[in-house]
């Protein structure tokens, strides 16, 4: 490992964050950015599989999807959408603070982002609890016989199809929530590192890349909200 150390030492003079196998900081930064974008593409395809399933079933079972969708709370869904959008803004501000070398500002934006993320998760948790109480969680206890339209008339959708909707709902929002949890963890770690002064105006790639991740998770929710909550609400 002597070579390794020698080269590492040689670069130490320039920037401690520059890894030995890169020839310049720019190359390293560009590599990290491209890597992150490729990772985001894998995320698109990962959720893409579920969006594909959703779309097919929505076409096949539209009436049941519409009926089941009306059991979701638009208020909570819209509130959560707003929370995520605001958190995306705070991420942008965090990146700008890092760029400007404002350490305390950076830390506070990161903390706010985590708090907003947790708000989202808590609200989501309340929604899930409601689903448990109303027996709208797929499985042996699932019950969907008590749906009524505006005139108080029972809508006779096949409960099995409604169960399919809630299966998709839990799969998609659950996977999204998992990504939120990961994002919150990520930003918490970054906040600690930022507090310790790891990031400088010359090196804040982790903040930028974590930000990209957060925005993508936000975008996924931007699609999930109308697709899951807003099916045929006007009738």
């Amino acid at each position: 490992m002597s070579d390794n150390q020698a080269i590492a030492v040689e670069h130490e003079a320039h920037n401690p964050a520059l890894l030995h196998h890169f020839s310049s900081e720019q190359q390293q930064k560009n590599a990290a950015s491209l890597g992150m974008w490729l990772f985001l593409v894998t995320e698109i395809m990962f959720f893409g599989g579920m969006f594909c399933a959703y779309l097919i079933y929505r076409v096949q079972h539209f009436n049941a999807f519409a009926a089941a969708s009306q059991q979701l709370s638009i208020k909570l869904g819209a509130f959560n959408t707003a929370v995520l959008i605001v958190s995306s803004v705070t991420v942008v501000l965090a990146v700008k603070a890092a760029e400007a070398g404002k350490r305390k500002l950076l830390v506070s934006y990161l903390v706010v982002t985590v708090l907003l993320g947790m708000t989202f998760l808590v609200v989501k948790g309340f929604e899930y609890r409601e689903k448990f109480e109303k027996h709208h969680v797929p499985g042996p206890t699932f019950n969907f016989t008590d749906t009524f339209d505006d005139n108080g008339k029972q809508i006779p959708v096949n409960p099995k199809e409604a169960e399919l909707f809630f299966s998709i709902y839990f799969a998609m929002t659950g996977m999204h929530a998992l990504h939120m949890i990961i994002g919150c963890g990520l930003f918490s770690v970054l906040a600690v590192f930022a507090w310790k002064g790891h990031y400088t105006p010359g090196y804040y790639t982790p903040i930028e890349n974590a930000g990209l991740y957060w925005h993508l998770v936000d975008i996924i929710w931007i699609y999930l909200f109308p697709l899951l909550y807003l099916i045929s609400r006007h009738s």
Partner: protein, 318 residues
């Protein structure tokens, strides 16, 4: 059909045999002719766009002939002639249950008369199976929750292997049987051997006992659509789409009545999922289909003693 598949197969064998020989001979000849020898250097060649285009386009057009011929056969294989005898097949781990329209039932054996077009309407009670008769060159997966169809015409009497070709668990390899192709008179004799009421009669009884006939009336439009003659006809739906009322549509309308609501009707029909078995479903479907031929259908109806006042033909089908 087997003959057509074989003809295409032979064509493909010839073309790819020629291609394979071409490559093999070229590689062998070149490898020997240009083997390394002292004093002889390689001669550099960059490539040739004309050659590249040639050997991209020619194979493509050859492959196009494969596609067209193959698609034509496939289209025929998937389009049962109108005069087919229908047989219902229910697959389950690990057996084939067969129901003839005449009510005959058999397991792991399918008796058919020679020269008759036979259409199989198949569904599975559990996992995916696949109905494969190598001698007829046909195969179709059998799925839970819907019908798939397949047809064939046997031309030579004899016993032919029936295999399950989609892996379905422990005894997948034991889920086989025979297609017994018989001369028409032998077949008639065999058919006479069983008791059994025709499938649509079973369906008709179910139609009454399940209460379908209270809404799906034959004389007037009830709360559900009149099912007289709807089979294989286009149906206008409430959301503006038009669908063909084939077996799968009838089946879906019994199990998921609200999925496709007929224009002008309300989604009031309850689901029969979990209430009717796959065999009963087959009988109901057979009954609804029998309503498509009014003369025979009505005749059968009239001979039926009416248990409840107006109970004729209708099934749900919203």
């Amino acid at each position: 059909m087997a003959g057509q598949v074989d003809a295409l197969y032979i064509y493909l064998l010839l073309v790819s045999g020629v291609m394979t020989m071409l490559i093999f001979v070229a590689v062998t000849v070149l490898a020997i002719k240009y083997r390394r020898m002292p004093g002889r250097d390689a001669h550099q060649i960059e490539g040739s766009t004309i050659l590249e285009i040639t050997w991209s386009i020619i194979p493509f057009f050859v492959m196009l002939t494969f596609f067209i011929w193959g698609a034509v056969i496939y289209f025929k294989e998937r389009t049962p002639p109108a005069d087919s005898t229908e047989v219902y097949v229910v697959a389950k781990q690990w057996m084939w249950k067969i129901e003839h329209m005449e009510g005959q039932r058999e397991i792991n054996e399918l008796h058919v008369p020679v020269g008759q077009n036979v259409k199989l309407i198949m569904t599975s009670q559990d996992v995916i199976h696949s109905f494969f008769v190598p001698a007829f060159r046909i195969k179709q997966d059998v799925l839970p929750g819907r019908y798939t169809t397949l047809w064939f015409k046997a031309t030579v009497p004899g016993r032919y292997h029936l295999f399950c070709a989609e892996y379905c668990g422990t005894m997948h390899s034991g889920m086989g049987g025979d297609i017994v192709v018989m001369e028409p008179q032998d077949y008639a004799q065999w058919m006479a051997g069983g008791p059994a009421a025709p499938l649509q009669d079973t369906g008709k009884q179910l139609f009454a006992t399940l209460g379908c006939s209270t809404c799906h009336r034959s004389d007037v439009q009830g709360r559900g659509p009149n099912l007289q003659g709807i089979y294989n006809k286009p149906v206008l739906l409430e959301d503006g789409r038009t669908v063909i009322a084939d077996e799968n549509y009838v089946r879906e309308s019994i199990l998921n009545p609200t999925a496709k609501i007929v224009s002008g009707f309300k989604p009031v029909m309850p689901t029969f999922q979990g209430i009717v078995s796959d065999e009963q479903l087959n009988a109901l479907v057979a009954y609804v289909k029998s309503l498509a031929q009014p003369p025979a259908g009505t005749a059968a109806l009239q001979s039926q003693p009416a248990a409840a006042p107006p109970q004729p033909q209708n099934t749900q089908v919203q």
